[in-house]
Amino acid sequence: MKCTRCKQKAVVALPSHNAGFCASCFLLYFQNQMEKAIKKQKMFSPRHKILVALSGGKDSLALALQLKLLGYNLECLHLDLDISDTSKQVKTIAQRFCERFELKLHIIELKKENLSIPEVKKKLSRPICSACGQIKRYYFNYFAKQNNFDVLATGHTLDDEVSRLFANTLRWDITYLQQQSPILEQDQEFVRKVKPLYRLTEFETAVFCFLHNIQYSTIPCPYSKGASFTFYKRLLDELEYNQPGRKFNFYETFLKQKSQLFPPSTSKNKINFCSICGYPTLQDICGVCRIKKMLSKTS
């Protein structure tokens, strides 16, 4: 197979784009897709201060490096969840990565916040992933606001976005469909969230990491069940294989039609501020402070 751009030997085939690329043309393609995402959705510009949520997986590492290569002003934040050896290993990966590419890395240790995830799991009756997700969102937003970042960038890829869209559509969940977007414009209290990888797939971030010789974490979280989300991913992969480009098309068309099909709701909930930490919430005390209170009562 030959590179579509320069006719040298290709190392990656991308049937979804009807193309094949050599290493350097692939990296150019990757950069172009990310730049397109940033410009098309008006995510940010070089004068903005960007916080990258760095998990240590391939997607967030690829995101951080490509933003740096494009000359954006970014720093990274890693949350240490304190889950057995897994958290130690991913933290080391994040640290080594940031050293190598000269990126500023901040680390928040949940243990120091009295929110060690295994402890939360022991004491909370609801599923751990919902609490863990809430805690992560809280700290990323809190940190970004406290330190004057303009945007929070996450490593969600086209695959993540499409499986979420598929799940939302199967349930015809109008609220979630209204909200789903590669850019979440927020009220003053929340930082703007963006997903610059939404035009790129997991396969492509894996290729990107391979070509840059980036070591990333592949250890699954011991609490991850995979369940329906992964099942949808499998179904969608089969669809993509039989109809290359289908995922991209499904998501792009959704974005085009969204404002017409699912206009944003005009009713706004009244936002309070948590009486303990000041975080915006619909109740008196925010969700994370409630978890903290629960833990201190039962310990």
Partner: protein
């Protein structure tokens, strides 16, 4: 041919597989579900494979 499947690091010995495409089929993977690596080079599905090759299959799906 020796095949190392990552991230599990399973090692397989497979015979009579002549192309990347055939290897992926045998492992029940679609081409975009794994990187196929030989001598630190990525291979496209049309590439030929040989009995003395050592090939890494690096599955891409992110978990957790």
């Amino acid at each position: 041919m020796k095949v190392i499947v990552e991230p599990e690091n399973h090692i397989l010995e497979l015979f009579k597989i002549k192309s990347v495409k055939a290897l992926l089929n045998r492992l029940q993977l679609y081409p975009f579900q794994a990187l196929v690596i030989r001598d630190n080079q990525l291979l496209t599905p049309d590439e030929k494979l040989f009995p003395n090759d050592t090939v890494i299959i690096r599955k891409v799906v992110s978990r957790g």
